[in-house]
């Protein structure tokens, strides 16, 4: 146990943990995104999807708790790395500029803690809107279940919530533009050759994830589904 604690407290261990929790969260949101797509297949598909998840009982709770632990740990690491950076340079430069070239400093990497904290706030509001909501019920094939379809349709009629959601998904894309590449580097899965390839893949993945999440609210708001 103390070995693990020493490892996780070291600067390298902290990075590896940021990468592992980050990738875990990315895998989760990919599954979440695929689940959302069920909306496009109609009320029965998405309601049954949600119902099936809820029938998983203990497994669902294990996943939920695991996810919560990853999330809390990730947030704690992200914020503590940011605090550490402020401590490590008490007097800053009067002029500071990136050299460009090999540098990965950009709007995405420099704003990780900001996009991260906004994502954190979003998660609370998101759970409030969709998880802790008193759903209406729908009956499919004689089974009574939460009418998730109705709730989604209702929420994304609201322009304010729709805009808020879209903006946050853009920020998620920004977080992942640097994050996905960074996680590979953190886990040591990087060579001179693979570096630019992984950096490009991270960009494509970030765009796909952001657009994927934006698709649903936009389609509902403009009545495309």
């Amino acid at each position: 146990m103390s070995k693990a604690a020493t490892f996780l407290k070291s600067q390298v261990g902290r990075k590896i943990a940021t990468g592992v929790t980050g990738i875990g969260l990315v895998l989760f949101i990919i599954v979440h995104l695929l689940g959302n797509l069920a909306y496009f297949a109609g009320p029965e598909a998405i309601n049954t999807y949600s119902y099936t998840l809820h029938q998983m009982g203990p497994i669902l709770w294990v996943v939920r708790l695991g996810l919560l632990a990853f999330f809390v740990y990730h947030v704690w690491l992200g914020i503590s790395i940011w605090l550490e950076k402020r401590r490590a340079r008490p007097e800053g430069y009067s002029v500071y500029a990136s050299r460009g070239g090999a540098s990965r400093q950009n709007w995405s990497s420099r704003s990780m803690v900001v996009t991260g904290i906004l994502l954190l706030i979003f998660v609370f509001t998101h759970l409030y809107t969709f998880a802790f909501h008193d759903f209406a019920t729908a009956i499919h094939d004689g089974v009574e279940m939460h009418d998730v379809h109705q709730r989604l349709t209702e929420v994304f009629q609201n322009p304010v919530y729709t805009i808020y959601y879209v903006v946050i998904m853009v920020l998620l894309g920004m977080h992942l533009r640097h994050g996905v590449w960074s996680a590979f580097q953190s886990l040591g899965w990087m060579s001179r050759k693979s570096n630019p390839i992984i950096y490009s893949i991270a960009f494509v993945l970030a765009v796909i994830i952001a657009l994927g999440f934006i698709g649903l609210p936009i389609s509902i708001y403009f009545g495309l589904v």
């Binding site: 600067q11 790395i81 490590a88 430069y93 580097q185 040591g188 570096n195």
Partner: protein, 248 residues
């Protein structure tokens, strides 16, 4: 050419510093940046003023002594160039250059543009060496090392220990320097016996000296005069993971 300089002047660690304006007329474009500072210092001394302290030694990009941040970039605007190798012809007539020292808690101020980089020496002392007795110089080909490892070890060994990686890093992390030293030895058979201890001790030391965590900004690679790749940092992480058995 005329160059306007704003140079950080600070009497000592406990006195607050500030940027001071100097204008140099008739700068020869063939001068190096440091030669221009020499010239400015000569002028200051002739006027009976305190010269500007700055670090330098070889002036040919190999010793790692020079350390100036020019307009916010460690070693100035040119890639793969230590500031001693930067020539004034890279600037335009009338340019303004802000000159600051490396800034990091782990590199405390000494005077003006000179900071104390002995934290790097202490990271080296923690494991950046081979302590087994290697005896008399061996025959060059007695210990075969494949080309791939030899090339990588050589690339990493090019680090001159200047500290630009720390200066340019938004987090003041020493990961590139430490990673280069660890990875260099990890690719050579002589480095093998102490491989695990080395990475654990050097990584611990780097945190203890007050350098920040790495956020993979890769700014270090962009400013490194020896063009050390951040692959050195990825390798350091793999080495650390493989050294789990040595962690207490």
């Amino acid at each position: 050419m005329t160059i306007h300089l704003k140079i950080w002047r600070q009497k000592d660690r406990n006195t607050p510093g500030k940027l001071v304006d100097y204008t140099m007329d008739d700068v020869n474009p063939d001068m190096s940046f440091l030669e221009m500072l020499d010239w400015l210092n000569e002028r200051l001394m002739n006027e009976g003023k305190e010269p500007i302290e700055f670090d330098h030694d070889c002036r040919e990009g190999i010793c790692g002594s020079c350390n100036l941040v020019l307009n916010g970039m460690a070693h100035g605007p040119h890639e793969a160039t230590a500031v001693c190798q930067l020539h004034m012809r890279k600037y335009k007539d009338g340019d303004t250059i802000v000159v600051e020292p490396w800034r990091a808690k782990a590199f405390p101020m000494i005077k003006d543009l000179v900071v104390d980089r002995s934290a790097f020496d202490r990271i080296m002392t923690a494991g950046g060496y081979i302590s087994i007795n290697t005896g008399a110089p061996a025959d060059a080909n007695a210990l075969p090392i494949n080309k791939y490892d030899a090339d990588l070890a050589f690339d990493y060994a090019a680090c001159i220990g200047c500290g630009a990686c720390v200066a340019a890093c938004p987090n003041s992390s020493a990961s590139l320097f430490t990673g280069a030293k660890i990875s260099q030895l990890a690719h050579l058979p002589q480095g093998n016996p102490e491989r695990k201890r080395r990475v654990v001790n050097m990584v611990d030391k780097m945190a203890e000296e007050g350098f920040g965590d790495c956020s993979n900004f890769a700014e270090c690679e962009a400013v490194c005069p020896a063009e050390i790749s951040i692959t050195a940092i990825a390798e350091m992480r793999r080495e650390y993971f493989n050294a789990l058995s040595e962690i207490e």
